[in-house]
């Protein structure tokens, strides 16, 4: 079926352009209203000196980068940056490795594999407040089940959430548990697209399971892995609920990341510091954007080569 150019109903030239714009309007409006405007407001907030009074009256003086300087000079900045990097990196690595291992495992299609795979999705389906509260209850130093289990095998109790040397580890463990299903699902669907004939050919050539994984599965999964890691990175950078519910970023800022610090500044006190809070938030947005661009660059190089 072919359409001729002069078919009635298809407006030529300029009218066509207008129609195209009309089709673009809804999505443009949506983006402007729900993404561009909040983003603009957040940048604006971070460049003004807000007090509670000027926040309500809307006449906060423009102070340039003063809020950013405050944030950079804050004694919380260096630890928060370090925690954000450690939290994101460790979570990503473990989520990806465990997710990939499970995906390969479930790809064997053994009996009950579907049921088991469904069970692994539970952490993903639970509301964050439920899983975080459950973790915080299990990790309680006095009455938590984990310390009870440790006690049973003769290990001294650990102050998971209340010791500055353990709190970051605790929230990382909880976040890995929550993030594994996402990696599992995406990587599993990626595995489906690798033709079985490749494995057959490799098997005939005498490749063992380990070689098949490193020579076939892993390279062919690379595009899926890249998008999984990028999405995981953006999700993990902004993780807030789990940390806030479990430790509030404490004790003594030992588990505070940029996300919790931003909230702490903006909402954690009776007198909110909206300006510095927004500044920290913007740093997070920039970080996510930078990694997004890095991903695109890598992808483009791959496409060209």
């Amino acid at each position: 079926m072919s359409h001729s150019r002069s078919q009635p109903g298809v407006p030529p030239g300029e009218a066509r352009g207008r129609a195209a714009w009309a089709f673009l309007t809804p999505v443009t409006l949506y983006l402007a209203l729900f993404y561009a405007y909040p983003l603009y407001r957040n940048v604006d907030l971070s460049l003004r000196d807000y007090t509670v009074r000027s926040f309500v009256q809307g006449d906060a003086p423009f102070t340039g980068l003063a809020n950013y300087r405050t944030v950079f000079d804050d004694p919380t900045f260096a630890p928060a940056l370090l925690h954000t990097v450690v939290f994101t990196a460790v979570c990503l690595v473990f989520q990806y490795v465990i997710g990939l291992a499970l995906a390969v495992f479930f790809n064997q299609h053994f009996r009950l594999s579907v049921t088991l795979r469904a069970l692994f999705l539970v952490p993903w389906l639970l509301p964050l407040i439920v899983s975080a509260s459950t973790w915080s209850w299990m990790l309680n130093s006095e009455s938590g089940i984990i310390n009870a289990a440790l006690h049973a095998i003769g290990v001294d109790p650990v102050n998971w959430l209340t010791s500055p040397s353990w709190s970051l580890t605790s929230v990382i463990i909880a976040n890995i548990w929550i993030g594994v299903p996402f990696n599992l699902v995406v990587l599993y669907s990626g595995l489906q697209s690798i033709p079985a004939s490749l494995y057959e050919a490799a098997a005939i050539d005498g490749a063992n399971a380990w070689q098949r994984f490193w020579r076939i599965t892993f390279p062919l999964l690379r595009p899926v892995s890249a998008i999984t890691l990028l999405l995981g990175l953006v999700y993990t950078l902004k993780v807030f609920d789990i940390i806030w519910i479990m430790t509030k970023g404490g004790p003594a800022d030992s588990s505070s990341t940029f996300a919790t610090w931003s909230y702490q500044l903006g909402f954690g006190n009776l007198v909110p510091a909206f300006g510095p809070g927004a500044a920290v938030g913007n740093l997070l947005v920039v970080a996510a954007l930078v990694f997004g661009l890095v991903y695109l660059r890598v992808q483009r190089k791959q496409a060209l080569s």
Binding site: V56, E142, K238, A259, F274, A278, V285
Partner: protein
């Protein structure tokens, strides 16, 4: 063509990354306000921090009854206490404030500073009956910004059975030394000493204040020797195992749950737990929190204020004032404060409460002796001091800093 589609993919992916990140961080932008009024002039909105009361509760019914009396409909929204002050600020920024706002007392001076609240001169509320030490939390710069709906404060609950087993006489607890001695005996008897809440929020500061003030320290000088002695007392309890390590993450509710397990001898908690204490299934008693060298420490006043936020349409104040007057009338105050397990803010209703339940007597006395957190002309300085104080408590108790260093750092951060 190829470069065009690449370009488009770039934009799309960048947009996605931005969108995902923005949804996490844009909360500071003020777009999160829940719109309320102006929909219907016959509907009056009330925001309160009592999410535990649902539509069928006595509290919700009282609001509706007062609405009926004033000839208007009530639309009530309940918030978590810690959310309410920010929600109120955001709403005021959008010129969308509730008609009546019930907020935690230390927030009043902040909202007043922001110009969100009307003064009693504007809204014609009568506050003459409220106890002056309670009303003080709602006053700044010689103006009054609301009226207390009820008050509570902290004291020490004790488990009579545990104390008896350990051979401790509750009357012997007169000062910090005798309290620590009692805790030691309890621990030797194989029971747990004391639980409280030292969480990194306003609740942690609230619970620390009786000890802080009981040592003779002042909020304007966080690093004084007295302040260090108060924090060292708590730290020492944790080190010796008299208090559980979980206090660092305890809210007052989780701390209460620990006490309700029946293993603990003492718990620092508030008036609002009285109803739960009856249900705990063991004999309990209540002690005022002792000062360092005897006598009773001043505890901070808790409880909410009923305020009338500034409206574009000033004609609404008259009805709002009638609603507030109804809510804080003598007979309604009695019912409300019984439901909330609070001490009433007026002596008339306090007498009625004690007559009905003699066990409230120590609490009424404690409330009369209590001190507002924003009093002493601290006003909006208090929240900053409080944040540094709870941080110091957290870092000392978790062992990342000594009490002295933690408080010195706190004091220099306030300045």
């Amino acid at each position: 063509m190829n470069s065009f589609s690449r370009q488009r993919r770039l934009t799309a992916a960048a947009m996605t990354a931005l969108a995902v990140a923005t949804s996490a961080t844009a909360c500071g932008s003020g777009s999160g306000g829940t719109g309320t009024n102006a929909a219907d002039s016959g509907t009056y909105t009330i925001w309160d921090p009592y999410p535990q009361f649902d539509k069928s509760s006595d509290w919700a019914k009282l609001l509706d009854d007062c609405g009926t009396e004033a000839g208007v409909k009530i639309k009530r929204t309940a918030f978590d206490t810690s959310d309410l002050s920010n929600k109120a600020l955001l709403a005021a920024q959008q010129d969308n404030s509730a008609d009546i706002l019930i907020v935690d007392n230390p927030v009043v001076s902040t909202l007043a500073e922001a110009g969100v609240l009307t003064t009693t001169d504007d809204n014609k509320l009568d506050t003459s009956k409220a106890d002056p030490n309670l009303l003080a939390a709602g006053q700044s710069g010689g103006k009054t910004y609301g009226t207390p709906i009820g008050a509570n404060t902290l004291a020490l609950y004790y488990n009579k059975e545990v104390l008896k087993e350990a051979g401790v006489d509750a009357d012997s607890v007169k000062d910090w030394t005798s309290l620590t001695a009692a805790l030691e005996k309890v621990k030797k008897a194989g029971k747990k000493g004391i639980t409280f809440s030292a969480i990194g929020t306003e609740e942690g500061s609230f619970q620390f204040l009786p000890w802080f003030w009981g040592s003779g320290a002042k909020l304007t000088e966080l690093d004084s020797a007295e302040a260090v002695s108060a924090l060292s007392l708590w730290k020492n309890w944790l080190d010796k195992g008299y208090a559980p390590n979980s206090v660092i993450n305890n809210t007052q509710t989780t701390s209460w749950q620990e006490f309700a397990s029946g293993d603990y001898a003492f718990a620092e908690n508030g008036t609002w737990q009285l109803a739960n204490a009856e249900k705990a299934g063991f004999d309990y008693g209540v002690l005022p929190i002792p000062g360092a060298d005897g006598g009773n420490a001043s505890a901070p006043t808790g409880g909410e204020f009923v305020t009338i936020p500034v409206q574009g349409d000033t004609g609404r104040y008259a009805t709002s004032q009638r609603l507030v007057t109804c809510l804080t009338s003598t007979e309604n105050l009695y019912d409300t404060d019984t439901t909330l397990s609070y001490v009433a803010p007026t002596s008339e209703v306090q007498d009625k409460q004690v007559a009905a339940n003699a066990e409230l007597k120590p609490w009424v006395d404690a409330v009369k002796a209590a001190k507002g957190r924003t009093s002493d002309d601290l006003g909006t300085k208090y929240p900053k001091i409080s944040e540094q104080m709870w941080k110091a408590v957290q870092s000392a108790l978790s062992g990342s800093n000594s009490p002295k260093d933690a408080l010195t750092a706190a004091q220099s951060a306030v300045k």
